[in-house]
Subunit: 354 residues, 2 copies
């Protein structure tokens, strides 16, 4: 299968990166293996002069340095983040953008201070409707120059588990994950989790910035406004079994008992079922589903497969507590968001050596 | 410009990643921004049961655990590593492999114990010709199943600065960089620096494994043996100035004094000159060249550009102490190695706002 990729898209694929699927074995993804998407450039921030401003429709605007934020109550949460554009390269026709295959995901332990008490301290005005989060990363998209910014309705921004995070996996944030401070909103796709935060602003009208109003919508044409992308749809991925061919990526395994394993997650509710197919989705068997790494993180799953020589297409499929499940084929949309179609892994089970 | 990329190559581009060019600002690349190439899968290693075996033509074979290695004399070296396939996607026709653009590089501070004293302790036999380094990563390439392994001639293996590294930037190696132990050979392309080491073997005949004898050769056709890839050719890269368009990657800058900056390196000798062109390589001016981050790492460089409104193609070009310099156009070879042609960055300098 050949893809019509531009050099610019390939540059994006080189800069940004997804989770190597064998790294699904780690319940918490090591730094450097977690997926990463940066629209513009990674800012270089001097933490001594950096300040977070909390303002807009609040009674007491706040200015906070990094040390002040670290002195506040801290909370550590394991959270699974996935890019809303994950699966884009498997759609046809395909939007010109970051050409993700299907592994733009990761789970990290984010440490930070909860947002809600800070907003309470600032005192939200009675007309406040949304909270706007503005990063330091500036660029052009859709012919509009802007800082990367996104908003949340109050009801989401005030959730207990929404963090302003300054550490990941016990270390200061590395530059690429938003140093010195980023937003973490469990359950929502990655674009929500604004990195390199500089201002938090309470607004009385719905925020209409590019990344909110134009970007990240499910639409059928460029003209349509469409429906906003919000929470992560259910998905499961497996560690490809056996060994790979470089560069063809076909997997080769020995016959016998083979443990298939992977992770499954959903932003809509806990995953309640993972099924496995060894015939390309023709028939399904339920896998053993483990506990979530946290309330906001993926579940491990496993399936003991008795593998006989032959060629197989392995698939896995997650269902969440809302009854949402993964489709067998992608649901197309113009910008290539939320493609949670099942993973397909081609495996050759070899005949026993003579 | 559209590229004919296979889905398998795109999967490689998603798994592996290059240095986002703005991260050239860091003299030492943060973990997660350093380039990464893994042929097969990243092994999951239990450090308690892991052992390094040193054997072959030695008088006293050694078996060493991780703690024993850490108790030996330690040395920390900042080393620039670059993938031999860097620049491959800019060649035409292009080998089917990891489709790097031009930023598969990074500089890290590797901490480990020097190899030479260990080989001395093991006592090399008089016939020993090469040292073979074998990783734990297994797969298929060129239709041959093998563990990733490479050899070095004794003269290279016994250099003072060749390390068995167990830490990077002051931390235990993350899985993707070779946990628990990897080889670091300053000056040589990345493929030399075997990750997930399990055995080190002294051999009396030239090693003929796939990655040594077939892979990593400069050849004009599949049939030709070609010339082995060894040391890193000179290269310079710049931080693209201004702000980017997502996803077109064109840069936009304001008129006036603009500091162009970047890094330059060579495995053949220190970089002695970096030149900058603002007209696509038509004319060149010498940049200010800084000291190397270490004897084995890249140099910073900078150039103050008086930018007037218009469209430009910025280039930079490094020359090393051996007189080797970067070509303006790639030197084609069948597998797409060692393409160190100059970087070209398209910049639009905008007219002053009315």
């Amino acid at each position: 299968m050949s893809l019509d990729i531009t050099l610019e898209e390939l540059q994006l694929a080189a800069r940004n990166h997804a989770l190597p699927l064998e790294a699904l074995r780690h319940p918490v993804t090591p730094v450097g293996l977690h997926y990463l998407l940066t629209h513009f450039d990674i800012p270089l921030v001097d933490p001594r002069s950096w300040r977070l401003q909390i303002g807009g429709n609040v009674e007491r605007p706040l200015t906070l340095g990094l040390e002040e934020l670290k002195e506040r109550p801290a909370r550590t949460l394991a959270v699974t983040l996935e890019c809303a554009g994950n699966g884009r390269a498997l759609l046809s026709p395909r939007a010109n953008s970051q050409p993700w295959v299907l592994e733009a995901v990761g789970t990290a332990e984010w440490t930070g201070t909860p947002l809600a008490p800070l907003l309470e301290e600032a005192g939200l005005g009675s007309g406040a409707l949304e909270i706007v989060f503005t990063g330091l990363d500036r660029g052009i998209q859709g012919e509009i120059e802007h800082l990367y910014e996104r908003s949340l309705p109050l009801s989401e921004a005030l959730r207990d588990e929404v963090l302003l995070a300054y550490a990941v996996n016990g270390q200061d944030l590395p530059p690429q994950h938003g140093f010195p401070l980023r937003l973490v909103v469990p359950g929502w796709y990655g674009m929500t989790n604004v990195k390199w935060l500089q201002t938090i602003t309470a607004v009385d009208e719905p925020f209409r910035g590019f990344q909110q109003d134009v970007g990240y919508h499910l639409r059928q044409s460029a003209e349509e406004q469409g429906r906003a992308v919000t929470r992560i749809l259910p998905r499961s991925l497996m560690v490809p079994p056996g060994i790979p061919d470089f560069p063809a990526r076909t997997r080769f395994a020995e016959p016998g008992s083979l443990l298939l394993e992977g992770r499954a997650w959903s932003g809509g509710g806990p995953v309640v079922k993972v099924e496995v197919s060894v015939d390309g989705g023709g028939s399904w068997t339920e896998a053993v589903l483990g506990e979530g790494v946290s309330e906001f993180a993926w579940h491990g799953w496993s399936y003991e497969w008795e593998a006989h020589p032959g060629e197989y297409e392995l698939c896995c499929r997650a269902t969440d507590s809302e009854g949402k499940t993964q489709p067998l084929t992608p649901e197309w949309n113009y910008d290539g968001f939320c493609n949670n179609a099942v993973q397909r892994v081609r495996v050759v089970v070899r005949s026993p050596s003579a």
